[in-house]
Symmetry: C2
Subunit: 227 residues, 2 copies
Amino acid sequence: MKHAVVLLSGGLDSTTTLAIAIAQGFEVHALSFDYGQRHALELEAAQRVANSLRAKEHRVVKIDHGIFAGSALTGDGDIPKNRSEKQIGAGIPITYVPARNTIFLSYALAWAEVLRAMDIFIGVNALDYSGYPDCRPEFIATFEKMANLATKTGVEGSRFKIHTPLIELSKAEIIRRAIELDVDLSLTHSCYDPTPDGRACGLCDSCQLRRKGFREARVKDPIAYAA
Amino acid sequence: MKHAVVLLSGGLDSTTTLAIAIAQGFEVHALSFDYGQRHALELEAAQRVANSLRAKEHRVVKIDHGIFAGSALTGDGDIPKNRSEKQIGAGIPITYVPARNTIFLSYALAWAEVLRAMDIFIGVNALDYSGYPDCRPEFIATFEKMANLATKTGVEGSRFKIHTPLIELSKAEIIRRAIELDVDLSLTHSCYDPTPDGRACGLCDSCQLRRKGFREARVKDPIAYAA
């Protein structure tokens, strides 16, 4: 059986990506990161999803927080709320984390080489959230090229492939794909700023994009929102 | 003053690289990694070197050990000893660590972006130790390209540059360059398998390459060897 490393945050996109990798016949090794998220809920969601979808294993790698200083997502800055669609789509979000996907994919590459897995899946999406530079196809293509130059496996002639099955999909299409694959979306967690009792805020960019996706997919979002 | 992030292991090459960055007029931010080295001596050497050369700061990032499983340098495997020059030059060494420089440079990139430093220095060398795929110029060039696609800074038009001032130098030339720059090489640590009292083994590949370099440079190596 072919093995794949799948980056898993426990959100909609990475959960759907995990289900797609499994549907493609891969034995999946899910990889999450503890990088000073404001909340442990994201990692709990990742664990629930990995169990529910029967990942072969799920590993959480702890990342030194200090290095990511300067991002709202990991620091003490305010998470933007209630922004318009136009505001969300304009420029690079304040939730940008320097070199995040570069670091995540680098760990995925190291683990893949140890596991002798040639396939790495990441749920990046260039449409709904085009603001992140490290979600673009040209970044992924160049990372893949670099990965094959960086490694023993690459030098010896095997090729690592970075799979981005969601890259051209809208959030609504991602939700429909997840439902086709029988994914329990109530297990997922998307909010940047959940309430103390664990509900999604409903107002941050991530909640807004998620809700818009469910509306457009004409599906009821199974999670609870505070607002 | 221009700022640079310099990867620093405390060995000959990264120490000389740090001195070169300073000589080029950079304010340097030294970055070391605790990735389950068999010995803390490497990190102590890095700290001594950063102090001695007056780095602006020195940070040690802890890296989850498990991800690097399968390498002699971090695991419990035997370090090869007393290999011939031909053996050392043949193929990828057992001390290869999957995606190591990719991960190190990714952290350097994140930190550089936070610091608004556009310059990253790494002491890779393609001549004496050509066995490591992630020490080759084509790897570095592709990482640099990827770095400028991955980041907010790159998208906004500034360019990160990965400097590899040693890439074409022999070990003897590196030693001579260090001495020209008045580096105290007694502070450096190169051995993969030091004795309990902290002396270099003298027999591992790293010790052998270092000793050969000093012989060829016609300079006395200031560190003590066990054998």
